[in-house]
């Protein structure tokens, strides 16, 4: 029997001093959700949160919302706010683990495991302070009993962990390009050193390509394309009218003043993508704090589902995550999941577009590895450079 964990390979084909072609291979199990057919929504909800190595909360809540929609259930505004807080808390945790643990290691520095733990703990404590019975993944909504003071303390702890990663300052830092560049040259943290190195080695534009930003709710033809995909071809290599869109931090934040300024000067390359990750953390923390006012105590909702079709799309840490569900007589008759990595690591997607045609000098594999880390696939990714 095989082993059901997948990965991505990126082969840079070099000739005459440039990258002539980028070949991206994937062993990701894009059709695996088809196996949900025949199961009840409750059975699917048992498996969903443990089936994904990353973004398990976003996966589970997107599935929940798609099944609610298919079955004609509508969650209350407070429940929707609580769920958005959970997805944002997970995004902060996922980005935070990259900032505290993974990015220092890319620089050859020690990971800051204590800060990584703080980011990760936020999601668990926020969940507990919203749903003390642990029933956050309940059709129609679990028993919501928000503990506002503790939730605000959870958010403050995550904000402090983020500030720690940036050397103590967040306010005012992620606003304009000059302030940001001045900060990175003297920042006492691995993230500042990483960004400063990218700039000093003239790699800010490395991997720049046209930005084809994913709309917030996904392409307009999403439901239709997912329905008409029995062989999983769209799931493996999605497109919108022939174009492979980009999803994730840069697509979400490309109009943010700092990110937009970097895009104008350096294009959609390494510096813009790394910076967009920082801006995304700040945005997720802000969203969590602003959604707290929409919370209120509520009993668990109704859980009886009818038959029908549902599509839920969530902006998870790495980008648009879509679940398409058909329900018939209390059972799933169709289940398809489209994850952000299929867009960003598409053979004609933003990584491939950004690396094709670049000069093959310096440590190309390491630079491409940084670009991969900035785009943040949800599986391991091996980069190789192949000369003729």
């Amino acid at each position: 029997m095989g082993f059901p964990e997948a990965g991505i390979t990126v082969a840079l084909k070099v000739g005459h001093g440039t990258v002539r072609a980028v070949e991206i291979g994937s062993t990701r199990l894009v059709k695996a959700a088809a196996m949900f057919a025949g199961k009840s929504p409750a059975e699917v909800l048992t498996i969903l949160p443990t089936l994904f190595a990353l973004c398990g909360t976003a996966q589970a809540l997107t599935g929940l919302e798609a099944m609610e929609q298919a079955g004609g259930l509508f969650a209350s505004p407070a429940t929707r706010a609580a769920r958005r807080i959970l997805v944002s808390a997970e995004a902060v945790a996922e980005h935070g683990m990259a900032l505290a643990r993974d990015w220092p290691m890319l620089m050859g520095e020690r990971p800051d495991m204590e800060t990584a733990r703080k980011f990760k703990r936020t999601l668990a404590t926020v969940r507990q302070h919203l749903y003390p019975d642990g029933d956050w993944l309940t059709l129609g909504g679990g028993r919501l009993a928000p503990d506002i003071s503790h939730l605000l303390a959870d958010i403050a702890e995550a904000q402090a962990a983020f500030a720690h990663c940036l050397g103590g300052q967040v306010t005012g830092l992620l606003k304009d390009r000059n302030t940001f560049r001045a900060w990175m040259t003297q920042a006492p943290t691995a993230i500042g050193r990483m960004l400063a190195q990218v700039v000093s080695e003239a790699q800010a534009s490395f991997g720049a390509a046209d930005l084809l930003a994913m709309p917030e709710n996904g392409p307009p033809d999403l439901a239709e394309r997912l329905d008409g995909d029995p062989d999983g071809l769209y799931l493996a290599r999605p497109d919108y009218r022939g174009q492979v869109l980009e999803t994730g931090a840069l697509a979400r934040n490309h109009t943010h003043p700092l990110v937009a300024a970097i895009l104008r000067h350096e294009g959609a390359g390494l510096l813009a993508r790394l910076t967009a990750r920082l801006v995304d953390v700040a945005a997720a923390l802000h969203e969590m704090a602003s959604l707290v006012q929409d919370l209120k105590a509520e009993a668990a909702g109704a859980a009886r589902l009818g038959s029908g079709q549902g599509l839920a799309a969530t902006q998870a840490a790495r980008g648009l995550l879509a679940h398409r569900v058909h329900l018939a007589e209390g059972r799933v008759s169709l289940y398809r999941i489209l994850a952000p990595t299929e867009w960003n690591f598409h053979p004609a997607g933003p990584l491939a577009r950004g690396l094709t045609g670049i000069r093959a000098d310096g440590d190309l594999a390491a630079r491409a590895g940084l670009l991969v880390a900035a785009l943040d696939p949800c599986v391991t990714c091996q980069v190789s450079v192949e000369a003729p």
Partner: protein
């Protein structure tokens, strides 16, 4: 998709656990777990398997492993 494979802890040495799933053993760090893990517990691992992300109840882990076995058997991989 980024499938996680619930893995059973077969040995622990300090902050490092040896875990097993689908007949494959590998080593993973327990440093990011919020709760104590013991031999026999199931954990899901982050991408690449270097860090255990979460402890999961045995019943849920077994249901997920059965599902993944079905995915492999049906060739949906």
């Amino acid at each position: 998709m980024c499938m996680a494979v619930p893995s059973r802890i077969v040995a622990i040495d300090g902050q490092t656990a040896t875990v097993e799933a689908f007949g494959r053993e590998r080593q993973t760090s327990l440093m990011l777990l919020d709760e104590e893990a013991l031999v026999g517990d199931y954990v899901i691992l982050g991408a690449g398997g270097n860090f255990a992300a979460e402890k999961v109840p045995q019943e849920t882990a077994l249901a997920t492993l059965e599902y993944l076995s079905g995915v492999l058997a049906d060739g949906l991989a």
